[in-house]
Symmetry: C2
Subunit: 184 residues, 2 copies
């Protein structure tokens, strides 16, 4: 049921854009009331993006599983692979929704807000691999490295979703992260 409404939201949004799709439209199309909609989803953004599982924990575990002697930047690149694969495995619909997400300010903001949790999640392991004090909040290093990596992911998704023939996500991410640091 929840998934059904989410699918309708995706359809409507792909059809007429995000801002022009009001909650009332969605409710009318789904045959439910506003009350019910907001019981299923905390917000309109979540109805659209909530389907994408939050991979924060996955990412953290993948990073912790990388070999100790790998350079931090390389380890992060490798840890991002499962995340990337989840996008790549999907079809044209995902690409169009991703494009919508990257080009709609409200959606991009929400996406980044969701990812803000990843900073705290990844910080300990990144700090450890950088040889920094894990509890030192005055060290910008870990946050900078995580933010840089996420910026590369965002650049990757932007290019991939905008250019149908730009190659595999994995290759684009290699190029993106290769420009910033060694992906060895």
């Amino acid at each position: 049921m929840r998934a059904e409404v989410a699918a309708i939201v995706g359809d409507l949004v792909l059809e007429q854009g995000y801002e022009r799709t009001t909650v009332d439209h969605i409710c009318a199309a789904a045959g439910i009331s506003r009350s019910t909609f907001f019981r299923y989803f905390p917000s309109k953004e979540d109805a659209l993006l909530g389907g994408v599982a939050d991979s924060g924990e996955t990412l953290r575990d993948a990073l912790a599983a990388r070999p100790e002697d790998e350079l931090p930047w390389v380890a992060v690149r490798r840890a991002l692979q499962p995340l990337i694969d989840r996008y790549a495995a999907d079809d044209e619909r995902v690409r169009r929704l991703t494009r919508l997400m990257m080009t709609t300010p409200a959606l991009l903001a929400r996406h980044q807000e969701k990812n803000a949790r990843w900073y705290e999640l990844l910080r300990p392991e990144v700090a450890r691999r950088l040889g920094a004090d894990v509890d030192d909040r005055a060290d910008p290093g870990p946050q900078a490295l995580i933010g840089a990596a996420l910026a590369c992911v965002q650049a990757t998704l932007t290019v991939w979703s905008a250019n149908p023939s730009s190659g595999s996500l994995s290759d684009i991410l290699d190029r993106a992260m290769g420009v910033v640091g060694p992906v060895g």
Copy 2:
């Protein structure tokens, strides 16, 4: 007049937080009507952040002025100096407002939305310095590098605004960008 209202907004927001400060409160404190407020500022966020001049063009010109043989990452670091100095020159009020901006999701989102313009602004020069095709939209490199640098700036501002005794902004930015790439 506009500046006067903006100052009141800053006061109220520093006093009781951003969400709890409604436009009605501001109007009452400033002795104007809602209509007038929204003629001065397009939104509540802009009333608070609009005072910070948009340094996109400054940043672009500073980057273009860097020596040709500098590594791109180093050139960007140097080009960011004027931006950083603008923060550092100011007083405790700026630090508190910055902290508010980094910790309030709505404000951080607006800030990043404003900075989104910088990508297009800086892309040509960064692409050139990377030896890439300036018009190739399928190359994630320039966007990745710019995003990584801005992530370092954000990490810097976060640490600086949260820790009163964390040193100069310039030093923090050096540490942040040094972790990601060579700052020469």
